[in-house]
């Protein structure tokens, strides 16, 4: 290839690459934002009409978490929202985030369990990405362990420390 045509090719490659690389980082998320706004509006309307399924109160879920000092792990509750509670468990610099979410308010989360090949008791258990193990208890409670410091086996063992019998029996009204 002659120098001038190499240069032309290089320039063209840059011209086609640069806009993609430099275009706003925001473009990728704009569609999601628009659909989130529509969803939020629909939720608010349904809520006003009393048609939105009601998720469990956050503080009603705290008692199902593994106790403080389970396997020497120190427990700190971080977020407590409608239908969602999260706590951090730490020991010697290793960290895991444990959560319970009421899938009443996030049905998309349920889909992945239909492909689950493992079980926690009778409930489906699966992984998400590299760092999560999760189970769907009584078709309503997604319990999850997220940790970059623990492997799947350790995360599964920790899921077993939730009060699973309590969660299976817990079914507050969604009205």
């Amino acid at each position: 290839m002659r120098w001038s045509s190499w240069l032309a090719a290089a320039l063209m490659a840059c011209a086609s690459l640069v806009p993609a690389a430099c275009s706003s980082e925001n473009d990728r998320w704009e569609g999601a934002q628009k659909s989130a706004e529509v969803k939020a509006e629909a939720r608010a309307e349904a809520k006003a009409k009393g048609e939105l399924p009601k998720a469990a109160e956050g503080d009603s879920l705290n008692k199902f978490f593994p106790a403080d000092d389970t396997d020497g792990l120190k427990r700190t509750f971080d977020q407590e929202k409608e239908g969602f509670v999260q706590a951090t468990f730490q020991k010697d610099g290793a960290k895991a985030t444990l959560s319970i979410s009421d899938v009443v308010q996030n049905e998309d989360a349920v889909k992945k369990f239909s492909d689950a090949t493992e079980k926690l008791g009778d409930d489906p258990l699966t992984t998400v990405g590299k760092n999560q193990t999760t189970a769907l208890i009584a078709k309503r409670w997604q319990i999850k362990v997220s940790s970059q410091d623990m492997d799947h086996a350790a995360r599964t063992a920790l899921l077993g420390k939730f009060d699973l019998a309590g969660l299976r029996a817990f079914n507050p009204s969604t009205k």
């Binding site: 706003s24 980082e25 925001n26 990728r28 998320w29 999601a32 934002q33 989130a36 706004e37 969803k39 939020a40 939720r43 608010a44 956050g58 503080d59 700190t76 971080d78 977020q79 407590e80 929202k81 409608e82 969602f84 999260q86 985030t97 959560s99 979410s101 996030n106 998309d108 989360a109 998400v128 990405g129 590299k130 760092n131 999560q132 997604q142 999850k144 997220s146 970059q148």
Partner: protein
């Protein structure tokens, strides 16, 4: 000031990579080594928080985070507004282009006519700022009640953006202008001042727990009493003293004045460390929840 309606990804993506704020926060690395990375891309924050690198999973987490932040009933937006308000009140807006980066240092020599507020007003501002941190903590974590006790407990576990913001607050809003007895001064200022004469309080009161001015005053005081010991200990343990802070600041910023309160006021005006790290904190917590929920 108007509350920003910007979506969460835009708030993060719009954060400056290089700025006086970033330089001053990086300077505090010695207080909290390795705790803070100046992450100014939403995708990078997702990767940093979750350790995941699969693009379709990152997209899924980001989309759920956007849904959670956009739903105002989750209160994450209020936490961001609270941080925005703190950094926007009483600030001279100087165009970024007016700040000269000379070599590795930012030049603030042009801020010659700066007259800092009297000490009592600065102490009162610090007390209200601490109450705003409490309010944001409550909005993000969903703690019922005034949350004073939980907040004080949570301070001990602060990391990353939260920790560097706390370090900057102690350094620039407490120790530098008020000296080592900053807690006593904050307490006295709240007792002896009329809160409604304070601009920051007037802007912040709609976010503060307590219900009514007297109730809020009581919460501001309770918060100082409850968290004060930890803030003082933090300053002692980390060696945050007027001299050490001043020397470090001089390493990254040129000032025309050597008076400590002038330097503190200049940092207050020229940086948005509260909002900058506040946005990073709120976004991280929303991402953390999104990752747990998907």
């Amino acid at each position: 000031m108007s509350d920003s309606d910007d979506p969460i990804y835009k708030l993060v993506n719009d954060l400056p990579g290089t700025s006086v704020t970033g330089a001053v926060l990086h300077m505090l690395d010695w207080v909290a080594p390795g705790q803070w990375k100046n992450i100014t891309h939403f995708e990078e924050l997702i990767k940093d928080q979750t350790g995941e690198d699969d693009q379709s999973l990152i997209q899924q987490i980001g989309e759920r985070a956007i849904v959670l932040y956009t739903d105002s009933s989750n209160n994450y937006q209020k936490a961001v507004w609270c941080f925005q308000m703190v950094d926007s009140v009483d600030k001279t807006i100087v165009a970024a282009s007016a700040v000269n980066l000379i070599g590795q240092k930012f030049d603030l020599g042009f801020l010659k006519a700066l007259t800092p507020q009297p000490e009592t007003a600065q102490a009162l501002d610090a007390a209200i700022k601490l109450a705003c941190e409490l309010a944001s903590f409550g909005f993000v974590n969903g703690i019922p009640g005034d949350g004073v006790g939980e907040f004080a407990k949570a301070l001990a576990g602060y990391g990353k953006e939260d920790l560097i913001r706390l370090a900057a607050f102690i350094a620039f809003d407490c120790v530098l202008p008020l000296g080592p007895n900053f807690i006593d001064k904050m307490n006295d200022a709240v007792s002896s001042s009329s809160l409604t004469d304070n601009k920051l309080f007037n802007a912040a009161s709609k976010y503060l727990p307590g219900g009514g001015i007297e109730g809020q005053k009581a919460i501001i005081k309770k918060n100082i009493e409850s968290a004060g010991g930890q803030l003082t200990d933090f300053a002692k343990v980390k060696g945050i003293e007027q001299g050490s802070i001043f020397e470090k600041v001089k390493g990254v910023v040129n000032f025309s004045d050597d008076k400590l309160d002038v330097v503190a006021a200049a940092i207050d005006m020229m940086t948005s460390y509260y909002l900058h790290t506040g946005i990073q904190s709120v976004a991280r917590r929303v991402i953390e929840r999104a990752y747990s929920e998907i």
